[in-house]
């Protein structure tokens, strides 16, 4: 047990509430509405209280991390884990915008999030801070790779024991980026959905804090900070259109929640924002439901290079679907070849090397612009959630090799001439 320091300020947290039926629960490590409908539990806040204590100035005076938005995050003490997560660049992507035919395009670049180069550091910083408050000494997760990296790294920093579960076929960079922190790693012979199900069963029996299972109501709130940061970095304004990857659908819905909370507390002026989601064709249960006009998700068995978003049975799929429709957005999917082209396009135009999930987002952005589903005048933000150095296998054969030369001027001149004629 780790003793938490109680906050002197009153907390804005009211309790947990079922998103489906409204049943309320204490602020415990609990993620499903087990007394009624098994729907997802969410943290309920006192927004009147937040409105009284938070302003643009208090936020701007806060730390240069997600914890500047602490009043909106589900922690009760001052003892948060701040490893510099968040406040990643919002880059105005003029060259990519020009290529696609957009006027104003921004890239929210979580490929350089700290400490493990993906958006998962946001959710894990929140989840482990809460895990410590709740007295957990061991933390765990079911991961497609990035989450395991983040959980293992931040647990190491916080001195928590850690056991992570991953599918056994992950990219080498994702595996190394976990084992280096020396957690216990279970490589499960199966896909992510099978890992997830196993963890749902383990979560009940070992008394561990699973960040995306029994701590999920707290964990998922960390993604709201992407929405807050975009508003703040746009000079306290909302964009017109958001394009983000869809795996479980949680990130997508939490960016939206973040926007709504800033509107609700008077931090930003309200305006309609369209939300469009990106999936890989080889794992596109939400996109399929969107295109077929269904209000339910049929699970699929994933087969794509975009492993980090290969969730065939997405927990928040129906909510993502609903949100895209309500906001007049779209959900689109792209092939593995288009994903690779998306990675290269972002790299060549903006100098950002993203992983397959980011390639999916860029490829879908391109597809939607070409189809006229994103207007030329819409201020658009594309969310890049992970780093390309972690999924190097996917780029095999997709880029040109370096020109191998002798350490001689003539050899250089000859190679340069050849490269120009290519």
């Amino acid at each position: 047990m780790v003793q938490a320091t109680l906050s002197t300020a009153r907390s804005a947290l009211k309790g947990l509430r079922c998103r489906e039926c409204g049943e309320t629960y204490d602020l415990a490590a609990k993620h499903v509405c087990e007394d009624v409908c098994f729907g997802p539990l969410e943290v309920d806040y006192d927004y009147d209280y937040i409105k009284q204590v938070v302003s643009r100035e208090t936020i701007e005076a806060g730390p240069n991390s997600i914890w500047r938005y602490r009043a909106f995050l589900p922690v009760e003490t001052d003892n948060v884990i701040d490893v510099g997560t968040g406040m990643t660049p919002l880059l105005q992507a003029n060259r990519l915008a020009k290529r696609l035919g957009l006027k104003k395009l921004y890239i929210k670049n979580d490929a350089v999030n700290m400490p493990t180069l993906s958006f998962k550091d946001r959710v894990v910083s929140v989840a482990l801070s809460r895990a410590r408050e709740l007295g957990f000494s061991t933390v765990s997760c079911a991961s497609t790779g990035n989450l395991a990296n983040s959980t293992a790294a931040i647990a190491a920093h916080a001195g928590l024991d850690c056991c992570v579960f991953i599918p056994s076929d992950l990219e080498a960079g994702k595996v190394l980026g976990t084992v280096v922190y020396n957690p216990t790693v279970m490589a499960v012979k199966g896909n992510y959905d099978q890992v997830n199900r196993l963890c749902s069963e383990v979560a009940n029996s070992h008394g561990w804090g699973f960040v995306n299972i029994n701590l999920r109501p707290y964990y998922s709130e960390g993604s709201k900070t992407l929405g807050y940061e975009v508003i703040e970095q746009l000079g306290w304004e909302l964009p017109d259109h958001v394009v983000a990857p869809l795996a479980s659908g949680s990130l997508f819905t939490k960016i939206h929640k973040g926007f709504n909370e800033f509107v609700k507390t008077g931090l930003v002026e309200e305006k309609p924002v369209r939300f469009s989601g990106a999936q890989a064709e080889g794992c596109s249960p939400i996109s399929q439901a969107f295109k077929e006009g269904r209000d339910f998700i049929t699970p699929v068995k994933p087969n794509t290079i975009a492993k980090s978003i290969a969730i065939g049975n997405p927990a928040d799929g129906i909510y993502a679907l609903e949100q895209a429709r309500k906001t007049n957005g779209n959900i689109e999917d792209v092939t593995d070849a288009e994903i690779i082209e998306g990675i290269k396009l972002l790299a060549e135009t903006e100098g950002i090397f993203t992983e397959t999930a980011g390639g999916t987002t860029i490829a879908v952005l391109k597809k939607l612009v070409e189809a006229g589903k994103i207007g030329r005048d819409e201020t658009t933000v594309a969310f890049i959630t992970g780093n390309g150095l972690k999924t190097q296998e996917s780029m095999a054969g997709a880029t040109s090799a370096p020109l191998l030369i002798e350490p001689k001027l003539a050899s250089f001149e000859q190679a340069l001439e050849q490269s120009h004629s290519l």
Binding site: H31, C37, Y192, N196, P299, N313
Partner: protein, 91 residues
Amino acid sequence: MTVKVLIPTPLQKFTSGEASVECDAENINALVEALEANFSGIKARLCDENGKLRRFLNFYVNEEDIRFLENQDTELSDGDEISIVPAVAGG
């Protein structure tokens, strides 16, 4: 058909704390009725008002999600193992 049903923790209050029970049923629909006959009140937790399985519960027959099979009409055989797992997790 005698099948084994794995009961998730929140529903074990209906089964006197048993994590696994045996039932006779030829398909998932019949299984729900058989569970209700043995553990009164459990059906209202498994199904919504229209008698459809709640969308936030996943059912597996021998490790396969019934949505890849015949959903509630999925036929059961002697010795099958059915798991009931809350769906909201992961990501």
